[in-house]
Symmetry: C2
Subunit: 207 residues, 2 copies
DNA sequence: AAAAATAATTGAACACTGTTTAAAATCAAA
DNA sequence: TTTGATTTTAAACAGTGTTCAATTATTTTT
């Protein structure tokens, strides 16, 4: 029965081609401004046939970003070997910002976009487990920092939230285009500059 | 010529009614999912007539946007009398967070929601004047802090952005319900707790 | 008061959008 | 070759932002 398998492979291949085209267009001109017809045109199929592979546009979006948390987590894991928790914390911040700036649409879905009402009840809270995972990783690192004498007088949970908020704040203001209030000549680098200032502050809080 | 004035007032009144309806619908179902026809229906006018008062949908969004900044700015002005820039900075942070938590929908519109602006054609910064105003206020305060010996080694622009990002990050994670990853018993107070930690950090950076 | 000018409002139209669906094409199995 | 099940398509539906000629209402001028 090799035929059924080949058909299955063909179907999967077209699914992937749809996802590829969608990803290209989403990153190129944004999710909202990409139409199903645009995607269909790119892969030279009719708009209708896309609905044989995905329930709707949201599902395409969802499928594309399903691995978002896992991607971020796998990026984070490369610093697990870093013994110094303060150094690890800074590297995590850089990885987080890089991920957001390189995948603004994914980041948008993961951390900015209005969370759908059914995301708790549905089975796809797998993604949220990954979300918990990344925050736990941050919390564990900060706990280590505190245990090794850093951040004296600060509290683990609130500080973890504050650190996350700081990097999230920078990238989300950038992604949602609220950086136009900063000096024009600084706009291109303001997130990286802000992160640098943040690292500098972390260094000061080390001792 | 009181007639011309009355006409002017009538015109302004309809303009305000359009803005009122738009605000209601934008906050209720989002900017993108609110149509000109929805707004027209609510005020019982035809869709076309709205275009006699606003160039396009973007202009309606910007008008509301501007109103929000005026609100925030007027709240900020009450600390202008505070002589100590560090104390003023902290009070500004508290005011910002309070504004966001008390008016989450407006904050959402101002700083989180996808701005439908065509940033290429709409580089006219008239709309952002108010935005510039509040950020300039922050920048000026931080400049004062630096001039009075605080934040040694830090740079005005990037630090201003970082401070803004930190408070924005906290409130936007809260508004968009991403705080479920923090400990359950802390979720209710995590923004206030985070702000407290932030103030504590600012104190450390004072000297 | 009647006519002209001006302003406000409308509804239809245009080119889009996401999505549905009946029909057509394709193709493995009988 | 015929059957039966997929796959694909084109057309249609209901919606979108926006434009515009035509209509209506109002003010100004005669």
């Amino acid at each position: 029965m090799g035929i059924a398998e080949r058909k299955e492979r063909d179907k999967e291949e077209l699914r992937e081609r749809i996802l590829g085209a969608a990803k290209t267009l989403f990153l190129e001109k944004g999710v909202e401004k990409t139409s199903i017809r645009n995607i269909a045109d790119l892969i030279e199929y009719s708009p209708g046939s896309i609905y044989h592979y995905f329930k709707d546009k949201n599902e395409i979006f969802h499928a594309l970003h399903q691995g978002g948390f896992q991607q971020l987590m796998s990026r984070m894991e490369v610093v697990a070997s870093q013994a110094d928790p303060m150094e690890r914390l800074k590297r995590m911040g850089a990885i987080y910002v890089d991920f957001a700036l390189e995948n603004p649409d994914m980041y948008d879905l993961m951390f900015i976009k209005e969370a759908p009402m059914d995301h708790v009840s549905n089975s796809n809270d797998e993604q949220w487990k990954e979300g918990f995972g990344t925050f736990n990783f941050l919390r564990a690192t900060i706990k280590e920092c505190i245990l090794t004498g850093h951040f004296r007088g600060h509290e683990e949970e609130a500080l973890s939230f504050l650190v996350w908020s700081t990097v999230h704040g920078m990238v989300s203001l950038h992604i949602r285009r609220r950086c136009e209030v900063v000096l024009a000549q600084r706009q291109a680098t303001i997130v990286k500059d802000g992160l640098h200032e943040f690292f500098s502050i972390l260094d000061r809080l080390s001792s």
